[in-house]
Amino acid sequence: MSETAVKSPEVVSAQGSLPKRPLRWVRLAAWVALLVVLLALPLYLDAAWLKAGQYMMIGAVGAIGLTLLVGQAGQLSLAHAFFLLAGATGYTVLAGPTDDPRVTGLGLSPELALIGAVVLSAVLGLAFAPVAGRLRGIYLGVASLSLVFLGLYLGQSAEKLTGGTSTGRAPAQFSLFGFPFGNGGPQIEILGVPLRQAERGWYLFLALTIIAFVVATGAVKGRVGRSWRAVRDNEAAASVMGVSVTRAKAGAFAVSSAYAGLAGAMTVLWFDILKPDESEYGTYGINISIAFLAMVIIGGLGSVPGAVVGALIVNGLPQVLSLYSADLGWFTGTGGGALSPVLVSSFVYGAAIILVVLFEPGGLAAIGRRITARTTRKEEQER
């Protein structure tokens, strides 16, 4: 991964450290503005668009986790879909009712179940770490693919946990300290807009995404991120410098799995059903692993904001296309041979991967950095 790996943000900011002061305020203002917009959106968009936005946030959380592993720590993984399934199943089982004879449930409160699902995924990631630690590059990529196939089998056979491929099982509705994220509960209105399921779900997902984002940028900037990059760039040199290579690699795998687990729990809440795949091309299949890899590559390996933008493209495009197509009369064909929003967005992200590798290995992050570099230079000239 070394050549596609992006230059660490520190290096870039160090180069332009002189005119950084005014830029920092601009940047902060931009973040605040973005946050205000995101908080206000539910007041203006209807439920279908909010639902689409939630799906993009699922992608963002998962992609942030993968970009830490692939871009920062230099470990190629195709196992992301497996940890997605682990998180989804974890949440559903932990929060499930204890009195259902058909499936297992532990009856925990949803917020505890969500945390439990994340922890469970991290533990599973750690369990795979000894294997991951021994392998490198493509060998690791294909080895991690075996987890997806294992997940496919377990999803089919562990019906007590997953509900089986034919019916699946319903997850417990999420609630926070008794406040439900559905249509029930206390009625809240902001500016005349009632906060119902779609709006509440949006705020929940937004909060989770922001936490995921902040933790990841913190990790990248801090000691942990430095050790990951050291291991990525040269294992031998890293260990000479006192970085525990095994620990750094295992840590990256666990963190990335935890992110995927959270994304999985979000997925099951989004679909409102846990349904394991019948073939390897389902909700938790190879195609999903590849889609996450696509987000990360398009965003620029290792860049956290890049991963979010990649997720907006890969997960957002099919959603947006299908919402627009109803109005525009696109994709009216049905059955075999028809173009569907999912298909079109597959083409787009497939092409995006190719273009990124050919022309801008740093991905969207590098393009963004180039633009900021240019504006900074302009500011310098103006002064």
Partner: protein, 292 residues
């Protein structure tokens, strides 16, 4: 005992096809150090050409078109995309092939729609008995064809100019270039040969005896099982590809019978995982060493 023998024979037949696919991975990897994630889509492309030309050309003609077409698309990919990014690392080129794979596969699956045509018309679903064992013609023909092709390849690899150039390049790219070996030509032929092998393999994969299904998205996922075959044999070993292919075929056949059909797909990957834990670069792969 008879069941076991039967399974072994079936596994060998399937394994021969996996070996053809794995050999494709290995050839490309040896020449370029790129892992071709688009191999499954080359398989589908070849199969699709057979389906399209079948009516006009008959089975023999259509199969030829399919095999050659798969080879040419491999060559085209190398010329149009991979050769243009000389400075990109092999790993990022592998990621590029993922993009290629998504596009080709989605388009062909879309074109196929709901039809799942069978391709091995000449031998499909005509079993015959031999000493208490039922032999599927698909498996027998696959075994024969694979043996011939792999032997031919091994001989060419050892004795022909192309083989020498290829081995030189695999050993040390720069030195080979300095000795006057045209590396772009070696690389291009590697992709061509890998594509041809994929085109042959699909004629066996999309049959009733092999998968029970015709050409569909499932064909692509079967081709994915050649991944563990190539990896567990060792990505840079041609002999490893053959061994890996057979291991995958036999493991799949045995686990489908003795454990469960659903498990057989993951069994292949689990066996690969075990091999990798013991030998991180496969059974016959060259160990990577770090110099400090």
């Amino acid at each position: 005992m008879n069941t076991f023998l039967q399974l072994l024979v079936n596994g060998l037949g399937k394994g021969a096809v996996f070996a053809l696919l794995a050999l494709g991975f290995v050839i490309i990897f040896k020449a370029t150090e790129v892992v071709n994630f688009a191999h499954g889509s080359l398989v589908l492309f070849g199969g699709y050409l057979v389906v399209v030309t079948h009516e006009a050309l008959g089975w023999v003609g259509a199969s030829l078109v399919g095999v050659v077409g798969a080879g040419l698309i491999g060559l085209l990919l190398e010329r149009l995309l991979l050769s243009r990014s000389r400075n990109a690392s092999p790993d990022s080129l592998a990621l590029l092939t993922i993009g290629v794979d998504v596009i080709i596969t989605e388009e062909i699956v879309r074109r196929l729609g709901v039809t799942v045509p069978f391709l091995g018309e000449a031998w499909d679903a005509k079993p015959f008995q031999l000493g208490g064992i039922t032999l599927f013609r698909t498996h027998v023909v696959a075994l024969l064809v694979a043996t011939v092709l792999i032997t031919a390849f091994t001989l060419a690899f050892k004795y022909s100019d192309w083989g020498v150039a290829m081995r030189a390049q695999a050993e040390n790219r720069e030195a080979a270039a300095l000795m006057g070996i045209r590396s772009s030509r070696v690389t291009a032929t590697a992709w061509l040969v890998a594509g041809l092998l994929a085109g042959v393999a699909v004629l066996f994969i999309a049959t009733q005896d092999f998968s029970g299904a015709g050409l569909s998205r499932g064909t692509h996922s079967i081709a994915l099982a050649a991944f563990p075959a190539a990896i567990l044999g060792g990505l840079d070993s041609t002999a490893g590809a053959v061994v890996g292919g057979i291991v995958v075929g036999v493991v799949e056949a045995l686990s489908a019978q003795y454990i469960s059909f659903d498990f057989s797909k993951s069994a292949v990957f689990l066996v690969m995982l075990v091999v990798l834990v013991v030998r991180p670069s496969g059974l016959f792969g060259t160990r990577e060493s770090t110099r400090v």
